[in-house]
Symmetry: C2
Subunit: 419 residues, 2 copies
Amino acid sequence: MKKNVLIIGAGGVAQVAAHKCAQHNDILGRIALASRTLSKCEAIATSVKEKGSMKVEGDIQCYALDALDIEATIALIRETQSQIVINLGSAFVNMSVLSACIATGAAYLDTAIHEDPAKICETPPWYGNYEWKRQAACAEAKTTAILGVGFDPGVVNAYAKLAADEYFDQIDSIDIIDINAGQHGRYFATNFDPEINFREFTGRVWSWQNRQWVQNQMFEHKRTDDLPVVGTQTSYMTGHDEIHSLSKNLDVPNIRFWMGFGEHYINVFTVLKNLGLLSEQPVVTAEGQEVVPLKVVKAVLPDPGSLAPDYTGKTCIGDLVKGSKDGQAREVFIYNVADHKDAYNEVGSQGISYTAGVPPVAAALLVAQGIWDVEKMVNVEELPPQPFLHLLNQMGLPTCIRDEQGERPLDFSAQAAHF
Amino acid sequence: MKKNVLIIGAGGVAQVAAHKCAQHNDILGRIALASRTLSKCEAIATSVKEKGSMKVEGDIQCYALDALDIEATIALIRETQSQIVINLGSAFVNMSVLSACIATGAAYLDTAIHEDPAKICETPPWYGNYEWKRQAACAEAKTTAILGVGFDPGVVNAYAKLAADEYFDQIDSIDIIDINAGQHGRYFATNFDPEINFREFTGRVWSWQNRQWVQNQMFEHKRTDDLPVVGTQTSYMTGHDEIHSLSKNLDVPNIRFWMGFGEHYINVFTVLKNLGLLSEQPVVTAEGQEVVPLKVVKAVLPDPGSLAPDYTGKTCIGDLVKGSKDGQAREVFIYNVADHKDAYNEVGSQGISYTAGVPPVAAALLVAQGIWDVEKMVNVEELPPQPFLHLLNQMGLPTCIRDEQGERPLDFSAQAAHF
């Protein structure tokens, strides 16, 4: 049983998490919010107050923090008596925040893999380069560390585990499909930090095929699916975090990730990439100034948080699983559909932030209640999926399934009661 | 009679000018080359030596110079005893170099209009914002200042004056058409300084129509012409320097400039412009670094000089003039065709640099010989065109004409002999 949550980061996902923590502060206790820029934390705290999100009396304490500073992070965890840290800061701070959690015994949750600012798309499995090197340290310190517990990675890992447990005897392939069928009305924008967004696509595309790592180029392979609610959608094979743990933890020979892109996105991306403007390596201007092009692209693009008020339409993210059950070939799509406008009305953020920000709070609730407080480092598919998906059903991210019997919501209340 | 030339700038155009000055150093005397980066000057001097371009014994003296520093520029003009300054530096240094020429009595030649780094596309006529404010000062000091004496502006102004003098009683319209039908084999590159290139197209498009300034958007109007050598080509109405002097100095109600762009160029330009990456106004990165996006775009694009070895194909630039002569409506196209590979073989630069770099040296020869040494500030159409075009015929940029009698070279040797 743990309580008091420290959220690190103050972007769109942190805003969702803050609202969701507030809605469950009877279980989670005090909420603290820390990022480099104090004013961004304060804006979130104000939003939570304005929406009346607090379930029981309480407020959000805001702090300025450089999360690369391990000692400062340790001090803040202690000062706020936080036993759960939800790391929603940039992908570059995971290892330092994790160190602070190991030092203090606080549970560690994040939603994306650690990255070295100077490196793009390292050797698979990605978790092996950073996070998994701390498995022994977590086990020794009895530190609960749940890696990648956003939507994808995160919920889709739970879908994969659910499929393996409940719907298949043997799985041949898991294709994770992520479609944003929303419109933000801008010329171009990314749905989360442009720097992290583009870094996902500028390197090689790693997939797990025939139990081996396979390399492709971005936009080399595409598929078109007729999906629930969002209809016919084209997606492209993309490298993504969850492949790097599912390939180790599940006995599945083919695991691929597919992200939907419109032609306009691909055109803008292709121009920027070919010009070298998505590079994480510094260039020198004629005036002698050293600049990382990708950081300038980030600076000129809309703040993803600013898209929320005008965002309409829906997302559909799920696992298309093929294999066999009781000797019969079958195909199951386990998925969620989220609505941008609903997300904005509830927590002031768009749907992409919503799908990423709700799951780590569900995970925090399971840690707080001892259900997922495993005192070691795990990826989501190593944990029982039912209580997590049950909570998400209640928290705004319901799970649906499409199989031989058609499309329908999945109810986990019975299974969740086991835990 | 003036001699000894100081070339300011060390880009592709300066390289051409250095070679061409060397080829005529019997008349021009000593040659000095100055830019911010000494090593770029030295590379040009080496190239001139390797090609054996010097007509009589001599070499190129190289200097590091910040051409915004008027006192340093005055000192260098005096030290090198230069009586002619060819300013091929960035568009931001015109006024300071002109000041140094007025102070020393050296003749001033440039190829592009002065720009304030912080302003894009000012109010027409552009020359009125900066250069023409110094007309009285030039007249008083008897300083010869020939503005915009590259190809366009420059040679096309001489074509316009020639048309008015020789081919028409009355001109209804001059459409200057600039087509580069060459291929450089890169994903994307500009043919001269990307910063200056993009600045031409990010603002309003000013044209002179019905004796008034008219504003349009870039890529709003296009035309397709069947042109000599380069064939059918689409070009877009673009703002350009020469309109801003021709509209004042010639009695022509319609003067427009059209530049050829491929669909790929337009796509890249449109993406960069819409994202804000062509802005001359600084942005601040998440890390707090202040950066001008356009300068970063410049930093990632190929150095235009580096394109030369692989450049193939031809340029066609000319004036399509419509009006009447002896009561008959007529249409005349006066033009030049240049070849990228020929330019590279002769002076180590591509054709765009060649067309811009040869004319100011022709002008310098006319100043040196007293033919264009007018001791005041002028635009090219205020000077007799024949000796200039005659010299260009000999120096590698022959003038051709297409009219009722078909396409043919124009010979100016008879008229030029008058001067």
